[in-house]
């Protein structure tokens, strides 16, 4: 019982092949292992299975594969050093785009309304002489 109690959490901590095969790239076909049946992909899957059987952690397996194949074996760049750029640039891009949109919306909302009486071409109201003439013409028409 004690052995089972000890083995339980350890077994639960062991990753499965299904957990990992989407996280690594086949070096010859450049797709994730779960999408590849190339000989190189089958070999890496077998390696991962052996390491899982020995209950190596995901981090251990990842480190061992990177030591052999380089960081290009990872489906997502590691969160360290220069590779942080790949994670940060999309976020920075989104923040910059949101800031630009906010500035534009703020400026549009503060634009002064066009003067009353202006027509769609931006011309001002009728001058008083013309308005007086128009009134008299209308009065004559009505009368």
């Amino acid at each position: 019982v004690a052995a089972l109690a000890l083995a339980g959490p350890a077994a639960a901590a062991c990753p499965t092949l299904a957990d990992l095969e989407g996280k690594f790239i086949c070096p010859t076909c450049k797709t994730t292992l779960d999408q590849s049946d190339a000989p190189a992909a089958r070999q890496i899957k077998a390696y991962i299975s052996r390491r899982i059987a020995a209950c190596a952690s995901e981090q251990q397996i990842s480190d061992e594969l990177v030591a052999q194949f380089g960081t290009s074996v990872l489906a997502a760049p590691p969160r360290k050093g220069f590779h942080w750029l790949a994670w940060l640039l999309p976020v920075v891009g989104l923040v910059v785009a949101a800031a630009v949109m906010a500035v534009l919306v703020w400026r549009w909302s503060r634009r002064e309304p066009e003067p009353l009486g202006a027509d769609s071409n931006g011309r001002g109201a009728l001058d008083p002489e013309l308005e007086q003439r128009l009134d008299s013409e209308l009065a004559r028409f009505d009368g």
Binding site: P27, A40, Q68, G70, S72
Partner: protein, 186 residues
């Protein structure tokens, strides 16, 4: 103020487009710059340099260390069936001509190191073996699959042909023997 902002945006967009165009031109013009392409166009380019971990023992394998000797450079992997089939021929050529200075260098690419070591032991590969798990040599040499074999003359230049597929195959065997003689004589 708005005018300056607009001008700044236009300059930035223009710089971005120019940068992308320069990147495209650079990529297109340097894409064909691998050894296999040059060899295929009738040139004798220098064999791209490499310095890799030894697979079979501690230390490094550097191509420069073999300058002055003819070298058969064989790219292989343990997951490759023709690599297994051609290994005995490479081993026999290495044993037969090594007193004339010939060196066979096997470069194991894109492979699990432990599997590659087992493969080398099982197939009795006694010539120097380098390990290139990340496949850094692949693009320099223009390798499209394994096995592939190149011939490096004493002056460090690639000669003869690049042989794709196993050198033991009927389609390659005569050319392989001719290239061995050519690299010994070069």
């Amino acid at each position: 103020m708005a005018g300056r902002l607009k001008l700044g945006g236009q300059v930035l967009a223009l710089a971005l487009v120019t940068g992308l165009f320069v990147l495209l031109v650079w990529k297109v013009t340097t894409q064909g710059d691998n050894a296999a392409d040059e060899l295929g166009s009738g040139k004798t380019p220098p064999a791209p340099h490499f310095k890799l971990d030894r697979l079979d023992q501690p230390g490094k394998v550097s191509l420069a260390a073999y300058r002055g000797k003819p070298v058969i450079l064989n790219f292989w992997a343990s997951w490759c069936i023709p690599c297994k089939q051609e290994a005995p021929l490479l081993e026999s050529v290495w044993k037969r001509y090594r007193n004339q200075g010939l060196v066979v260098v096997g470069v194991d690419i894109q492979d699990v190191r432990g599997d590659a070591r087992k493969f080398a032991r099982k197939n009795k590969m006694s010539y120097p073996l380098a390990y290139d798990g990340p496949g850094d040599t692949v693009s320099n040499y223009g390798i499209t699959g394994v096995p592939e074999t190149f011939f490096v003359a004493r002056d460090g230049k690639l000669v003869c042909d690049r042989l794709q597929a196993g050198v033991h195959l009927e389609a390659n065997r005569d050319r392989f023997d001719a290239c061995v003689q050519e690299v010994l004589a070069a």
